[in-house]
Symmetry: C3
Subunit: 152 residues, 3 copies
Amino acid sequence: MLERVVRLNADYARAIDDDRLEDWPGFFTEKCLYKVTSADNHRRGLEVGVIYADSNGMLRDRVAALREANIYERQTYRHLVGLPAIVGAEGEVTRAETPFLVVRIMHDGTMDLFATGRYLDALVDDGGVLRLRERVVVCDSSRFDTLLAIPL
Amino acid sequence: MLERVVRLNADYARAIDDDRLEDWPGFFTEKCLYKVTSADNHRRGLEVGVIYADSNGMLRDRVAALREANIYERQTYRHLVGLPAIVGAEGEVTRAETPFLVVRIMHDGTMDLFATGRYLDALVDDGGVLRLRERVVVCDSSRFDTLLAIPL
Amino acid sequence: MLERVVRLNADYARAIDDDRLEDWPGFFTEKCLYKVTSADNHRRGLEVGVIYADSNGMLRDRVAALREANIYERQTYRHLVGLPAIVGAEGEVTRAETPFLVVRIMHDGTMDLFATGRYLDALVDDGGVLRLRERVVVCDSSRFDTLLAIPL
């Protein structure tokens, strides 16, 4: 399972960093949860996230909106994803935690440390393909860039 | 062995980044060495380290002191740990070298590149559990932050 | 194959970061291509690179020049290399893509995010050893530091 999670993470990051955003919803099951939140809010049990989507359709809408906004003209990302820890299994669902770091590269060439944090995932085998039923992106910093737009 | 070292590193980083400091000494054997030094000092063979502990009790004392200082109120870490290279084996001891990068997140949300370097480890199977008999943390930069307090 | 590529990447990064530059050409086949370019130029199909070498001899010359310039007196690198994706296989050649991040540490101790990007590799088994027939280093930022000198 560990190796499958590692590959999923690598493919997920590569799709975003290569500007293949349309592939991104495909990493999630049809019914799913994608949320970006801060460590502070997560610790306090706040359900609210900076970004929240609870269906694959919402993820696809998000990609369409990003395309319209032409966000990739202005910035790209580079994900560095650490090794996942498998932290649980309940029935068909595997739970994993994975640290990440994202560097943002602006169009003028400047780079900055954009975000660090961990993915809290619920994974299922979806017809032979490992997919995310849930990905809660817990960012270490609660100072969110207003440009936060590309999926983490 | 490689996979066991990878898991140990992932668990070690996660314990620190999740603020489960009390779990940290458990990654070391009872008799152990934990040292933080700079590449410069390491190259010149200087034994002295910025942080030095040669027993598990000293590690536990260190955690107690950190708790008292409430250091986690002010900062957290995010470790990104690379792939270990197994560089030797003498009897029961495996030697590994692993690169790392640590981002520090301050309470106000600012992030900075806190440290990079490599772990020089001596690992043993301690009753079925892989533990560190020795972890020398060689930081690339010799400019140590005076706040250096949380384990690397 | 994935595991062999992972090890090659770890060894490659370690040779550079440990200042064993003389070992660096040994990761390439005799006839080879090493190129550093930007994502922008790569996307536009521009063949030109900031650094370009098409034989192992050119790589060795480069190392000799770096030694003469004493570049390591002034800076070192720390590579963090992500998980490779095996993206193709044609005959004896395996193609892989791997994200990386490089931190530069100056002699005065300052650290900066030097480069991020991905390795586009063509790998071959060269008498039992996996070697690079081609490594195109595609940097995300097109703002290249004039000090760009140590291999990426």
